[in-house]
Amino acid sequence: MRHPSDGVLRRLVDEPAGVTDDDRAHVASCPACLRALDSARADARLVGSALAAPRTGDVDTDAAWARLSSAASATTTPAFRPAPTAARRRWGSAVRRPAAAALGAVVILTGAGVAAANDWLPIFQTERVDPVEVTATDLVQVPDLSAYGDLQITQDPEPGQVADAETARERTGLAVPEVADLPEGVTGEPTYQVAGVAEATFTFSADKAARAAAAEGEVLPPPPAGLDGSQLRLQAGPGVAAMWSQPTGVPTLVVARVGAPTVYSSGVPFETVRDYLLSLPGLPEGLADQLRTLSADGGTLPLPVPAELVTSSTADVGGAEATVLTSRNGLFAGVVWVEDGVMTGVAGSLSADELLSVARDLG
């Protein structure tokens, strides 16, 4: 009988039952095969110890789950993030829960008058919560209002990657902020993402809103006079971003600049729309109160970031008050500020101090 192959001998080490009786019998009585088997066994043991993993038994599954669930949920939060692969509906969303749509609408609407942080919420979320999937579409977004009426995209931002900073500037009219000194651990050339101006018209439909609420088991409050059929025109962008990524695709550092959105109403006062949206079922009362109060005094918007995952503070960046957001697990941070209707953000898997340093030295 011929000697069994090396592969059979190797299997004998791990799974003797997977080897035929004939082969086992041969090896047991063949000195050459026994020597080869010993050699295979020794090699297997050596490689096994060489490939021993660092100790991972005490992984923090709860913290890891919090990180993952926030990243996963970012892809289904309609108001702030479109489905990345839904090419036909770049601004659309995967989920149309009325409360989520209303929240997004309120965030946009309440920020319209102050050019505040409304538009950087999606960018912040993208960097913070779903760092794997930063796309140019994330730069310019509007909430999915289709649960409440008809949303017609009148201008597509046509997001995409471009070859270099100069092309990005030509496409958007925005200069890509230049990073003077890359933080330690960030290397190589960035990729550049751009998006043009996005524009949409929303026509409120009381009937559609009532159906959406009913689908959620809720009753829609009666809309104020004039709201049914009234129109809002939403405009945002352009946007540009430079991204340095790890081999896994996770952005290490993102520097982005985007035009803050504006909203125009066709008749119904903005406050009327805002108050009505805030009265819709499903919005947490505390959040609605907060939005109503802050938008009334024209101050900075609150950011509906997940408080259990993120802490926020403020810092000075070139004379502007920037908001600094840091994930509680310390993996990500972001610095965002608004000047002259343009929002600039620096975010990534770095410390807040490193990002502030980048922000303050941007050219």
Partner: protein, 181 residues
């Protein structure tokens, strides 16, 4: 990211963004194991946890049956970690040093030796042909020959051959690395 074959085979829709409802249960059952597999490849727990996040995100958007999750995740983690390893680009020394964790806390000399050895093993692993490396890692992660064969579309008979060849090459690489110039 390289995805395991089974993902394509189960009809995952690339346009789909809904995250499956059983993700948390699968995550909690498999997270530690996935990190361990990726750490076996990378020699770094910190990087392994990043890989695990990536792999579970992919799983969350896939339609892989829950009862196949364990094998799918292991294969995906191996591919992803090997791709990261083979890319030759590592995350910053700061990150590597910060989070690998106080494993046993030996004295400084031991720690240096361990890190050097670990690094040499990973370098050798990165030089193996991809299929050999994946097969080797899966086998040493505890998958049976039948499971490895199924995951990599090999015949069960050839798993042993591939593992044996990979072990020989790896040890040869390590010996070459260890021998004085």
């Amino acid at each position: 990211m390289a995805r395991p074959r089974t993902e394509r085979g189960t009809g995952m829709s690339r346009g789909r963004v809904d995250v499956r409802t059983d993700l948390e249960q699968v995550f909690r059952s498999n997270y530690a194991g996935v990190v361990a597999v990726a750490a076996r490849v990378l020699g770094s727990r910190d990087q392994a946890e990043d890989v695990a996040q990536e792999v579970f995100l992919s799983f969350g958007r896939s339609s892989v049956p829950a009862d196949e999750a364990g094998g799918w995740l292991t294969v995906a983690a191996t591919h992803t970690a090997l791709n990261l390893l083979r890319s030759g680009r590592r995350r910053s020394a700061r990150e590597e040093n910060a989070c690998d964790g106080p494993a046993v806390v030996p004295d400084v000399a031991d720690l240096v030796i361990t890190r050097e050895e670990r690094s040499a093993v990973r370098a050798a692993l990165a030089r193996l042909p991809h299929k050999q490396a994946v097969t080797l890692v899966l086998r040493h992660s505890g998958l049976s020959y039948a499971e490895v064969a199924s995951a990599l579309d090999l015949s069960p008979g050839s798993v042993g051959t591939t593992v044996r060849r990979a072990e020989s090459v790896l040890l040869k690489e390590l010996n070459r690395h260890a021998s004085p110039e």
